[in-house]
Amino acid sequence: MVFDIQRTSLHDGPGIRTAVFLKGCPLHCAWCHNPESQSRTKEISFRPESCAACGECVKTCSHGAHRLVDGVHLYDRMLCERCGNCVEACLYEALKVAGSEQTVEEVLSIVLRDRPFYEQSGGGLTISGGEPMLQLEFALDLLLAAKADGLDTCLDTCGWTSRRAYERVLPFVDLFLLDYKATDTEVHKKLTGVPNDLILANLEFLYSQGARIRLRCPLVPGVNDSPEHLEGIAELDRRYPNLEGIDVMAYHNVGNAKYERYGLKNPLPNLGTAGETTKQAWIESLHALGCGKAALG
């Protein structure tokens, strides 16, 4: 289940890359800006502002999920079976589907179109999510196929999966982009839904195996940017001096609108995008803590 394929991705690993986002995530980070990527199934997004209330979706929906009441389009997610027929029928791009079944060959054929750009820039394929390790077999097949075609590969992962799974992908991943979200495991649990012990254990494992790793640290103002966490990041840098980089991923609220379109509840509805001063302050603090690798990602 592929959630999106983004070509010319400039921020998901080195060089110019194609990022393949797989659907489904074991974490539910409060600040998630792709909430539609969390469930493993298809999701239908509805943008009322684009809807012309033409009724085409009503005609095509056999589950009664779409109704027109007094010229207003109502979409009942409880009745919806996510078949996607309404999306096909919608001429206004008010209904869209997140998630499509695609084969490794289909995905790879798109990825390979940009090979010359990867070669010039040192880029390649990034598998991201959601959490790509939730679809281990697909991710593994895609990695294998990409390696067979000589592509550079990145795996963008939250770290919350079994060591065995990482063992299996390890030979086919050139660079891990591993998330580190909170130092205090209780805070981690509160913010993401899971503790961080397994994540740290997997970091330890991957590092010990000589994997190339960049740590990706989403920082959300007032939520997980405590001095303890910054120190925690610096501590990881000391413990694992060969980390390739530590990217501070500053929170932005561009994803907020998506919660509504997918009928989801936004856990942090009123949070503003991190300002330049805040971002610089984070970097300065990290540098002061001896973490010279930290940079805005």
């Binding site: 983004q6 070509r7 010319t8 400039l10 060089g15 110019i16 194609t18 012309a52 033409c54 085409e56 001429l91 206004y92 791009e93 179109r113 940009d114 010359p116 750009f117 070669e119 010039q120 820039s121 040192g122 880029g123």
Partner: protein, 742 residues
Amino acid sequence: MALFESANPRIHSEKYSVELAFTETYRRHIHDHPAIREARCLQSLMPHLFDPIRPGDLFAGRTHYLPIGFGLEDAAGGPVYYCYEDRIRPELEGLSEKELEPILGMLDFWKTESTIAGKLVSRLPEETRKATTNHIAEMMGRLSGTLLDYEKLTRIGLPGLRAEIAAGRKTNGDLPLYAGMDTAIDLLTEVIQSYASQACELAVSAKNEADLKDNFGLAAALEAIAIRPPETLREAAQLIWLFTMISGTVNYGRMDVYLGGFYCADVDSGRLTEAEALRLMQSLWQLIADRKTVFNGRVFIGGRGRPDETRADRFALLAMEATRTVIEIEPQLTLRFYEGMNPALMAKALDMLGEGRTFPMLFNDDVNIPAVRNGFGIPLAYAEQYLPYGCGEYCLDHLSFGSPNCSLNLLKALEAVLHHGVDVLTGEKIGLDQGDPECFATFDELFAAYRRQVEYSVEALADRHCLEYQVENEAAAFLYASMLYDDCIARGKSLVGGGVRIKGGLIETYGMVNAADSLTVIRSLVYDRKLLTLPQLVAALDADFAGFEKEYRLMRLAPKYGNDDPDADGMLCAVSEHVASHTRSQAKRLGFDYFLIVNINNHMNIGLGAQTGASAEGRRSGAPLANGNTPTAGNDTQGVTAFLNSIVKPDVGLHAGYTHNMKFSKSTFREERPKVEALLKAYFANGGAQAMITVVGRGDMEAAINEPEKYRNLIVRVGGFSARFIELTPAIQRDLIARTLY
């Protein structure tokens, strides 16, 4: 005040005295050989066009043009013998009958004698006229795209030109062409000497040391080039500048080739400091900018086929610095490059683009040289001299002349096919009647009908192009341009009279992307998916989609060129290859060495769009056409790699230049510079022929509409030219904002 007018106050006391005297000269020599007539007319006209040296200028030679006159390119006092009656009429109010009479007589005279509006139009067969005077196919009636041999001029100077003419005379006899050329050189010498005197006067009356030095320097340079070949950068630049102004050409050739040696010799010998050299070029750049030729003003640097590459590269860097520091929309600095060229040039170019300059435009020799070799059917050494002048039409530096005199709106051709050959906006019959839309049972039948219409228009344009050259040749010899074009002097023939080594012609195509996308949509919705019938689709177009919301949406959602989509891009290639090949096949019939299309853009995508009804790619009636070979604004949605993959697909070896505009955000270009460099490198390695890059802030253009005074320096690439954003019309501004920003 004209330079020489001050010496003869009687002449300009009378309204239109210069035009009247010029007309009288023409009349007196009406039966003379065109070269002689031209020489006499130049003598009568040119002295009045040159303006005095402007304070601060380091070079002499500013001009203005009159409503009646003679010239080469329409951007600079042309084309040929012309009369802009509409500019004169409103000025006649209040004149006495006695004053009016000669002026009206003059206007009457030029009605039939002006080369394009008079002579050409009267010579056109009715069918050709009809087929080339409508919104599918139009002719501009002009001469455009001369690229003079400035290398020869600066090497041998005016005395060397006289010697070449003398040698020609020995071989070919005492032809009127040679007599005309001699007169033309005499006239240029007079202009030079007159400016030399003026510069001396300015020096004498100078108020400070700096002015004194500048003007003495100018006077000395002028005096030198009147009698010998130039020896310094200043002399060489002054000579090419005055030759440019008197000849009426508007592009400046490979400047690093012809000025590189002078520049390096001056700097290396200590005659000039780097700063002084830059100051000279800045002054030259300002003179070029002030000519306001808009679509022209090309200065070329870089590339293969430069004899002394090291020196040329040094000058190229100087030229880029001049462009970086003189914030103007001309000269249109153009960098040719190839794998293995001095990397400092490309690095500097990208720095400039990152700063928000739209220059230099980038042309990839590794793609273009083989393409030109094939397209023009010429040897490698010639192909290395390709130059994309004007809006990006390829020509061979002083080897070939091929004026782009026709425009062909391919989307309008498709519109005619769907409407019995009738223009939906005017109701006029403009094309072939190929029957009712419902009679096209298959897509192939429709596509064949479209091809027939295009072929009909191409052939009519080709016929007219040929006739235009004939009429222009009967009118004049274009003495100055002919002197600096291979092999006019040696053959004893003029530029369009059989002198030029490689004779060509060009058709400017428009709406190629729109026609292709429309055909893709029709194929998909009507013939493959059968969601609509062709008559239903045409009805939606005729209503400009009003009441056809569903049809409109279907058309908008169908695949479009620019997204690396094999079907949509494949259609673009088919449309491109068809019109390119058919045009190319006309050369033999016309007796040309080449006849090719270009798919460039100036601002005509807006004007021609306004003349074109709604189209099947979901374009509303009157909306702009796509720009060159760039996807329709906003239709490219799959990222810049997909965009770049799409635009390299049409065969480059069949045409004379397609333009590719691309806009990058400041943040991408500046913060991700290595990735942008890799992106461009990969694009060029994939077959990208050229790139016209604008780097602009996301909100800059919107903000400039609201507060234009703050954005005077916001320069954007429109198509084949750059412009100050705030000076563009609202329609063009909207079109630019709609284009995808990567």
